[in-house]
C-alpha cells in the first residue's frame, strides 16, 4: 500500500525533483565559483577574516532557496490533488486515511531531505579544500535549521491546499508569511542554536495538524 502511495507521489513530482536538484547543485557551483573568485582577489586569509569579523556567512544568499523549493514542491504535490477534489480518489483507496496522509507527507519530507542532503554533500565536497571542518559543521547547523524551516513551509503550503475553509486558508497564509520572516534574520551563527529546536517543534506540530486536516477531509467534517 505504501508502495502505491509513494509511486503516485513520485509520478507527480519526478520532474520537479530533477530540476530542483539541478538548480540546487547549480547554485552550489555558483557559490563555489564566487568564493574562489573572492579568494583570488582578496587572498584566503583576508576572505575568512572578513567572514569572521562580520559574523556573517558566505552562503547566506542561497539559504532562501530551500524554503522556496519546499513551497514549490508542496504546490506540485498537492495542487493536482485539490483540482476537481481528486484528493477523494487518493483517500478512498483501501487503506487507513491516516496511513495514506502520513505516507504522502512522508514522501514529501523524505524527498526534500534527500534533495537537500545531496546539495550539502556537493557543498561539502566542493568546499572541503577551502574551509575547515569547524566551518563545515557551522555551515551544516545553518543548513539544518533552514531545512527545518523549509519543511515547515512545505507543510504550511499543504495545509493551505487541503484546508477547505477560506478562513483557515487566510490564517495559514498569514502564518506562512510570519514564518518566512526567518529569511530576514541576519544569519549569525549563534542564532541558529536556539532556532533549531524551535523549527523542529514547528515541523512536528505542522506534521500532525496537516494529518488532522487530511483525516477530516475524508471523514466529512467539511462538507464537500
Amino acid at each position: 500500500m505504501l508502495k502505491g502511495v509513494f509511486y503516485k507521489e513520485y509520478i507527480k513530482t519526478r520532474r520537479t525533483l530533477l530540476w530542483m536538484l539541478l538548480v540546487l547543485i547549480g547554485a552550489t557551483f555558483a557559490l563555489f565559483l564566487f568564493v574562489n573568485h573572492e579568494i583570488e582577489v582578496k587572498q584566503v586569509s583576508f576572505f575568512w577574516f572578513q567572514q569572521m569579523v562580520s559574523n556573517n556567512l558566505f552562503f547566506v544568499w542561497m539559504l532562501p532557496v530551500f524554503p522556496l523549493m519546499a513551497a514549490i514542491f508542496g504546490v506540485v504535490q498537492f495542487l493536482p490533488e485539490t483540482i476537481g477534489r481528486r484528493f477523494r480518489l487518493s483517500l478512498f483507496m483501501p487503506e487507513n486515511e491516516l496511513v495514506i496522509s502520513f505516507s504522502m507527507l512522508g514522501f514529501g519530507l523524505l524527498a526534500l531531505t534527500l534533495l537537500f542532503t545531496l546539495q550539502f554533500v556537493v557543498f561539502a565536497v566542493l568546499f572541503s579544500g577551502i574551509i575547515t571542518l569547524i566551518w563545515l559543521l557551522a555551515a551544516a547547523k545553518v543548513f539544518v535549521c533552514f531545512w527545518l524551516f523549509s519543511f515547515a513551509t512545505y507543510l504550511l503550503i499543504v495545509l493551505i491546499f487541503i484546508a477547505q475553509k477560506t478562513t483557515y486558508r487566510m490564517v495559514l497564509a498569514v502564518t506562512a508569511l510570519v514564518q518566512s520572516s526567518i529569511l530576514f534574520i541576519k544569519p549569525q551563527l549563534n542564532i541558529f542554536d536556539c532556532l533549531i529546536p524551535y523549527a523542529a517543534i514547528l515541523v512536528m506540530l505542522l506534521f500532525f495538524s496537516t494529518s488532522f486536516f487530511i483525516h477530516h477531509y475524508k471523514t466529512g467534517s467539511y462538507e464537500l
Binding site: G84, T219, S221, L224
Partner: protein, 295 residues
Amino acid sequence: MAVIDVHNLSHAYNKKPVLKNVCFSVEKGRILGIIGKNGAGKSTTINVLNGFLFPNSGSVKVFGENSNELTADTRRRIGVLFEGHLLHNYMTLKEVANYTKSFFPQWDDETYNKLTLRLKLLDKQKISTLSCGQRSQVALALLLAQRAELLILDDFSMGLDPGYRRLFVETLKSYVQYHNTTVLITSHIIQDLEYLVDDILLLNKGEALFNGTLTSFMQSIARYKVLLVEPQVVNPEVLWFANDVFQVENELFILSRLALNELLGAFAALNIQVTQIKSIPMSLEDAFIGLTGKF
C-alpha cells in the same frame, strides 16, 4: 444481510435540509438506480455512502459497517466512480493501472487491458490527453478490474455522447450480470438506467418519493392519449388527476396515476367530452417527469 442499508438518513447544509429520513437497502446482486432532479440529494447520498460526509442523523451501513468508518478490507470490496470520471490526470494509462493495482490484490489485468485496448489507447498516453468518452472507459476499466463486490457510480453519464454512454452501460451490464455484482448508480440520463437497473429510488426535494422495483415504478403511473370530441383548449389546472399535460390540437397527452376506467369517469365529471382514451407506451423518463414534474 443487505449490502447497503440506509435507515432514516437526514442531512442539511447550513440548516437547509437536503435529505429527510431517507430509507433504502440494496440486496446482493441487485442494481439500484437513484434518480431525482438537480438538488434532490443524490450526490449527498453518494457522499454519505462513501464516507465523505457525516450525516446529521440516521444510520448508513455498507457491508454491515458504518459508512464513515469503513475498514480498508471493506473498502477493497467497493469500487467507486466519482462524478465526472475523476482520475489522476497526470498519470499515463499504465501508471494509473499500476497505482490502482497495488491496492487491490484481486486486480484483473485482463479486464483492464481488454477495455482499454478496444479504444486503441496506448499505455504511454496521459489521461489528461484523453477525450471525456475515452476517460469514462478508462475509469470503468479501473473500476471493473478491481473485482469489487459493490460498485457505486455517481452520474456516470456526465459529459458522454450517446455512443460512449451506450458502450458504458453495455459493458457494465454484462460485467455485473456475469459476476453478480451489486451496483448503486445515479445518472441524469434516465433512459440509460431503464436498461440497467432492477430497483429505483426516486428522490424529490430530499425525500424518497418511490422505493421499489423498476416494474412497480413503471406501473405506478401511466401515459394516456386522450382524443377530445372537438378542438378546445383545456386548462391543465382543472385536470387534478394529471401529473403532466401536453396538448396538440384536440389531442391530450397526460401522465396520471389513475387507471383507464377511472380516467374516463374523471373526464366525465369535469364535463370534458372525449372520443377515446388509450394507454400509450411510456419510458422511465416519462414516469420520472410524471412523478416529479418538469421543473
